[in-house]
């Protein structure tokens, strides 16, 4: 009733190919952005901003990057944490070694370094795929874990092994309060989501998807496997690297390699699976789900009037994650994003289901 698209005529190819072809969608996104940029900073407590919204935004960005590789190009990666770490440590080095380095430039350069490492570890994908590739990306994970722990140069010879950044500012505006951090991340996420959405709609995105669906057929119709796979690795690790740099700089402030351990890689993979493989929207759903579920699980026993120990709560969390992964793979391999679009289909016909 409210979600009707009849009467909305497209009279040009441009209009037909826009990201949100239905007027209600455009309006909804506009409202969402307004809420995110104006209402949330005014109305949300600092705790939510710092502990939930900022991590959610950064993890969404990382999941977005991973989704390009796994969901769109079909190259499974278990080394996302490694590329996040490369982004974070590279950005840190640019920041401390070059005087007057602008924050945004060092974040983007961090992403660029992650791109290089990502392409390097993506090279095996030209000869192998599937689970063999998963092992190759695990190698990246273990190698960077070790390198940032043991090679002093990367941490600027800090004695404790952890690095920290302080006094962040963009064009003279300090990034210190939770609201500023939130808005800073939000801008990054919105820009990158738009870029990613356009990339996957373009020729290169269709090449990735062809590669994912059937690589031999894709090669036959003239898609270069080397180019398609390496660009997917490059774009994916760039976004993941920037997300890693944001995670270190904005969310944590001070960090050590454990912040980007293999658990982080698995967590991001889960986000992508639960949210929806091959969906930009899904990355956000997945991140929201995985950030909110532990909070919910911690609160739930309180609401029901009994208490459980923290150990049990964390075990329950892993159990539920595990069960959900299997559940989603069986029941809805396209994740929450597919549920969302099913909902929209239903809404289109509502209230007359025929």
């Amino acid at each position: 009733m409210f979600y009707r698209e009849n009467g909305q005529f497209k009279s040009s190819y441009r209009a037909d190919q826009q990201i949100f072809p239905i007027a209600q969608d455009r309006l909804a996104i506009l409202v969402l952005l307004l809420v995110a940029f104006i209402v949330v900073p005014l109305g949300v407590s600092d705790y939510w901003m710092r502990a939930i919204l900022t991590p959610f935004l950064i993890l969404s960005l990382a999941a977005l990057g991973l989704n390009i590789l796994v969901g769109y190009c079909g190259q499974i990666s278990l080394g996302t944490g490694a590329f996040m770490a490369v982004g974070a440590y590279a950005a840190y080095n640019f920041q401390v070694r070059i005087d007057g380095m602008p924050l945004i430039a060092s974040l983007l350069l961090g992403g660029l370094c992650a791109t290089i490492i990502g392409v390097l570890f993506g090279i095996p994908s030209l000869r192998i795929k599937g689970l063999y590739l998963a092992v190759a990306t695990l190698a990246a994970q273990f190698f960077t874990d070790w390198a940032f722990l043991r090679i002093q140069w990367f941490t600027n010879n800090s004695s404790s092994g952890s690095v920290s950044v302080a006094g962040l500012n963009v064009f003279g505006v300090p990034i210190e309060s939770p609201v500023q951090k939130y808005l800073f991340c939000l801008v990054f996420v919105v820009v990158f989501a738009l870029l990613a959405k356009n990339l996957v709609r373009s020729a290169i995105g269709r090449e990735w998807m062809a590669m994912r669906d059937m690589d031999v057929a894709a090669a036959v119709i003239g898609i270069r496997p080397v180019y398609a796979k390496l660009t997917a690795f490059a774009v994916s690790s760039f976004i993941v690297g920037v997300a890693g740099a944001l995670w270190g700089f904005i969310h944590l402030g001070a960090w050590e390699p454990a912040a980007f351990s293999i658990d982080r890689s698995f967590q991001l993979l889960f986000m992508v699976i639960i949210g929806g493989l091959g969906s930009i929207m899904g990355s956000f759903f997945g991140a929201a789900f995985i950030v909110l579920l532990p909070l919910f699980l911690n609160q739930l026993p309180g609401w029901l009037g009994f208490s459980i120990s923290t150990a049990l709560a964390s075990h329950l969390e892993t159990m539920i994650f595990g069960a959900l992964i299997v559940f989603f793979l069986i029941v809805e391999p396209h994740g929450l994003a597919r549920l969302w679009s099913t909902g929209k289909e239903k809404l289109r016909l509502w209230p007359f289901p025929h």
Partner: protein, 309 residues
């Protein structure tokens, strides 16, 4: 020289333990084409069950004998692993038939998380010990040949013997029994196997039970060496490069791969580590496997049929 040999033997022994876990991977891959990421979680689960049952049974049934407790715990843990196998087949795998390898891989990742959570909820998350009476004192050999002799751990020797025994049993099972032949048939082609009347579901339960059995054996040996705790499930990540190196479908490959990686790890740590800042054990196995993948993607003894790009 004595030190070198000691390192070498140490590496061989650790490698044997990796092989024990790697065999579990190979079994499931060989018989169902699923790369089972949950093998580590199964090792932890089985070891937890074994450790806790051995502790609980004497209390519940009021007897003292450690040996009886161990035997009962072994049987009970094996029973639990069969139930786990059945549940995995029933709840996850049977619904994912005909899916791509990647989907199955991610499903086993989910199973791994689930098993980790369940195991620690039921059996607790402290460090437990398994005491099956393995001798702890190291063995001195070749005292005449080298100064100081060679120190060998008896536990490790026993582990090596157990692994060898396991391989022999499994080889006989796969080659000589009707069930073993059925398993290999299913591995080759699900549909063809089904069409000549091999019950796919039962085969899967059997395969996962056998993998559960090998996880239990690996868990007991690792557990009595290091204690049963969460990090046990991470040891399986070490077994991943082992299977890649040895070939995914080959049990001898798992053994040789394990030995190569065990030895390579120890020697590189001792002789290369100081130059690179130490701790290179963590990634050495992976980088070795990675380099190997580029040269010979099917592994040392793997079958040549492989998803080559």
């Amino acid at each position: 020289m004595g030190f070198f040999l000691e390192t070498l033997f140490g590496g061989l022994m650790v490698g044997m333990l990796y092989s024990l876990i790697a065999i579990g991977f190979v079994l499931i891959y060989k018989a169902s084409g699923v790369f089972n990421f949950a093998q580590g979680a199964m090792v932890l689960f089985a070891a937890l069950a074994m450790a806790r049952f051995a502790e609980w049974f004497p209390q519940w049934f009021g007897f003292e004998s450690q040996i009886l407790a161990n035997i009962l715990a072994f049987v009970a843990a094996m029973g639990v692993m069969v139930i786990v196998a059945w549940l995995i087949e029933r709840l996850a795998l049977s619904k994912l038939v005909n899916q791509e390898g990647i989907t199955l891989l991610m499903a086993t990742l989910g199973i791994a998380y689930f098993l980790d959570g369940v195991g620690q909820t039921i059996f607790g998350n402290d460090i437990y010990k398994i005491d099956v009476g393995m001798p702890k004192e190291p063995l001195m050999v070749l005292q005449d040949t080298f100064q100081g002799g060679l120190l060998l751990s008896q536990e490790d020797l026993i582990a090596a013997l157990v692994a060898a025994g396991l391989v022999v049993v499994l080889a006989i099972f796969f080659q000589k029994t009707a069930t073993g032949r059925a398993l290999r048939a299913v591995a080759d082609d699900h549909q063809a196997a089904q069409s000549i009347g091999i019950p796919l579901k039962r085969i899967w339960v059997i395969v996962w039970s056998v993998a559960g059995f090998s996880a239990l054996v690996a868990g007991i040996i690792w557990g009595s060496k290091l204690g049963v705790q969460f990090s046990l499930s991470l040891v399986a990540l070490k077994a991943l490069p082992v299977v890649i190196l040895g070939g995914l479908t080959s049990i001898p490959g798992a053994i040789i791969g394990g030995l190569l990686i065990g030895v390579g790890e120890k020697l590189s740590e001792i002789y290369l580590g100081p130059m690179l800042g130490g701790g290179i054990e963590i990634w050495f196995a992976y980088v070795l496997a990675l380099v190997f993948l580029l040269v010979r993607p099917q592994g040392l003894f793997g079958e040549k049929i492989i998803d080559r790009v």
